[in-house]
């Protein structure tokens, strides 16, 4: 089932295209890794797909009314903003906003979803703590739990694993894989190519606002492709432990 479809998405800033004619379809069961160098347009693609930034082209999500869109896709922004020292469970419960009636407190279904999300991200023990007083990694997991509590068919996550320790990075990607196994879809912008290689079902490489490669991790991270997209020499092995990717050295440091 198609969860998101963008066609010819273009975003211009001061006349220059920061996202240039991007088309992408995401279906249930997929973990799509969005990769590319800094400034390639990963964040802009996620924001434009959601309609958070004015764009030319078509996006199935941006076309929806705000509440319907919030039920169709959850978004984890890159900046981990928590403005007020609210309790962790209150913060996670913000994910229930699109499901709640205009008045009244949380329903039993809301509470159950919040509990599930916190359990999944292993933050249930933090429930009563002020979210601003957590460690960076704990805060990142709490914010992912907020996205899970939204219980949408599709999740768009911008660098969800940045700043997490290796165990938490793997656990987070495994949560996304489990969601995909349930038939949901995940689009995740990542800088860690080794992590992406192991946990994504499909990869889309952006460079200078355009899609320059897409396919299985093995195709996108093959040496020729890695050199073209990232300007690095890299090794990609299909080992008995799964795909292993290691960047080795810079081959060209061209400015895109």
């Amino acid at each position: 089932m198609t969860l998101m479809e963008v066609q010819g998405l273009t975003v211009r800033r001061r006349g220059a295209a920061v996202l240039d004619d991007v088309s992408l379809t995401v279906a249930g069961g997929e973990v799509v890794g969005l990769i590319g160098p800094n400034g390639a347009g990963k964040t802009t693609l996620l924001r434009a797909a959601l309609g958070l930034v004015a764009a030319e082209g078509r996006s199935s999500l941006a076309a929806l009314p705000p509440r319907a869109r919030a039920k169709a896709a959850a978004f984890l922004p890159q900046g981990r903003e928590v403005a007020w020292p609210v309790a962790v469970e209150v913060l996670v419960a913000l994910g229930r906003a699109p499901h709640r009636a205009t008045a009244g407190g949380l329903s039993d279904a809301d509470r159950a979803a919040v509990a599930r999300a916190m359990a999944r991200m292993e933050v249930a023990h933090l429930a009563g703590r002020p979210a601003t007083e957590l460690s960076g990694g704990e805060q990142a997991r709490v914010l992912i739990a907020r996205v899970l509590a939204q219980e949408t068919p599709l999740i768009l996550a911008d660098e969800p694993t940045a700043g997490l320790d290796p165990a938490a990075q793997i656990a987070t990607m495994e949560v996304f894989a489990a969601l995909a196994a349930e038939g949901r879809g995940v689009v995740v912008a990542l800088h860690d190519l080794a992590l992406a290689a192991r946990h994504c079902t499909r990869m889309v490489a952006l460079k200078a606002g355009r899609i320059v490669a897409q396919g299985t991790p093995a195709e996108v991270l093959a040496p020729a492709s890695a050199a073209r997209v990232f300007g690095i020499e890299a090794r990609y092995d299909d080992s008995p432990d799964g795909p292993l990717f290691q960047a080795l050295r810079v081959v060209s440091r061209e400015v895109p």
Binding site: P66, A70, F75, P77, G79, A83, V86, T102, L143
Partner: protein, 330 residues
């Protein structure tokens, strides 16, 4: 604890309103005052007159102005995600003051009791239109703050110009005293002028709670959660302007309430912006009522100005908050 906050604040406000009704230069007995207030004229016309025409509007306006400032401060802090935001930030109070000052200077304020507050409301209205026009239709928190500061500064400069050019020292003194804020010598006319606008503003701000909660996660996350940011901004700016404009129109500039009250109450309600709104409204009412009782007790015959007292108490208190913040960050 957070469940008990609202009932406790409500009791506090009621107690302070009762206190406000009982404090004044006319030394009236407790029973005498209350029966005069309720029955109206049963114990002689003078007592009923003092209670119904002097003290009742003063107590009502104290609660209304305080609630308006407290609620506006809480909403603005939530909307701008900044604990230093205060109701004057978007330029409304400075512009309302400018309108009033022009009315005083030109002498039109003497024509009718409603001219002065009317001019203040006009100033507030113009400032909102200006701020929204400068900030642009999609402007975020930062453009709103900056355009508010610009409008505020311009209104303050024009106020200074009016004072500067004032040919008459008595008019200048009157203007200066007016800007200090006071609830003395107000009547039910002021209550009826402010009430509908304040009800409108409070209604608009009451609808912002969910959106402000979502904004805890930042503008992108809030929008992706289904929050209509343009509508939220419209409600915030319109509601704050209606409340602060009418509060300034009837009471002059009363500073620090909208800044300090949300600050004090935030930890008591678990920091959730939506929970802070009713608490700050009640807390603001309590603070202004208490300050207005204090000005009558401290200097009964000197007409100590309300805004002077709230600033004298508010500023050191604010320093104390900064001190605590510094200690926590160290």
């Amino acid at each position: 604890m957070s469940r008990a906050v609202l009932p406790l604040l409500a009791v506090l406000v009621l107690a302070l309103m009762a206190g406000s009704l009982l404090v004044g230069p006319a030394r009236l007995g407790l029973g005498e005052s209350l029966s005069a207030l309720l029955a109206g004229g049963a114990e002689g016309d003078a007592v009923a007159l003092v209670m119904q025409e002097v003290r009742l509007p003063r107590a009502l306006l104290g609660a209304m102005v305080g609630a308006a400032l407290g609620l506006s401060g809480a909403v603005l802090q939530g909307f701008l995600r900044n604990p230093l935001a205060e109701p004057g930030l978007i330029g409304t109070s400075a512009s309302a003051a400018l309108g009033a000052v022009i009315a005083l200077q030109t002498g039109v304020a003497a024509l009718h009791v409603l001219v002065l507050p009317g001019a203040a409301l006009l100033g507030a209205g113009v400032s909102v239109a200006l701020v929204v026009a400068i900030a642009g239709p999609r402007g975020g928190a930062m453009t709103l703050i900056l355009s508010g500061i610009a409008v505020s500064a311009f209104a303050a400069a024009l106020t200074a110009l009016v004072l500067n050019l004032s040919p008459n020292p008595f008019a200048a003194a009157e203007i200066v005293f007016w800007t200090m804020g006071s609830l003395a010598d107000r009547s039910m006319v002021h209550v009826w002028l402010a009430l509908p606008l304040m009800a409108l503003g409070a209604g608009m701000l009451a609808a912002t709670g969910r959106g402000l909660d979502a904004l805890t996660l930042g503008e992108d996350a809030a929008e992706a959660l289904g929050t209509d940011l343009r509508r939220l901004r419209m409600l915030t700016v319109g509601g704050v302007a209606a409340l602060v404009g009418s509060a300034t129109a009837v009471a002059g500039a009363v500073g620090f309430v909208g800044l300090v009250v949300p600050h004090i109450l935030r930890p008591l309600v678990g920091a959730r912006p939506s929970a802070l709104l009713p608490a700050s409204a009640l807390g603001g009412a309590a603070m202004v009522l208490a300050a207005d009782i204090a000005v009558r007790l401290i200097a009964p015959d000197r007409d100590l100005k309300l805004g002077v007292l709230t600033a004298i108490v508010g500023a050191p208190f604010f320093l104390h908050l900064i001190w605590r913040l510094r200690a926590r960050l160290a």
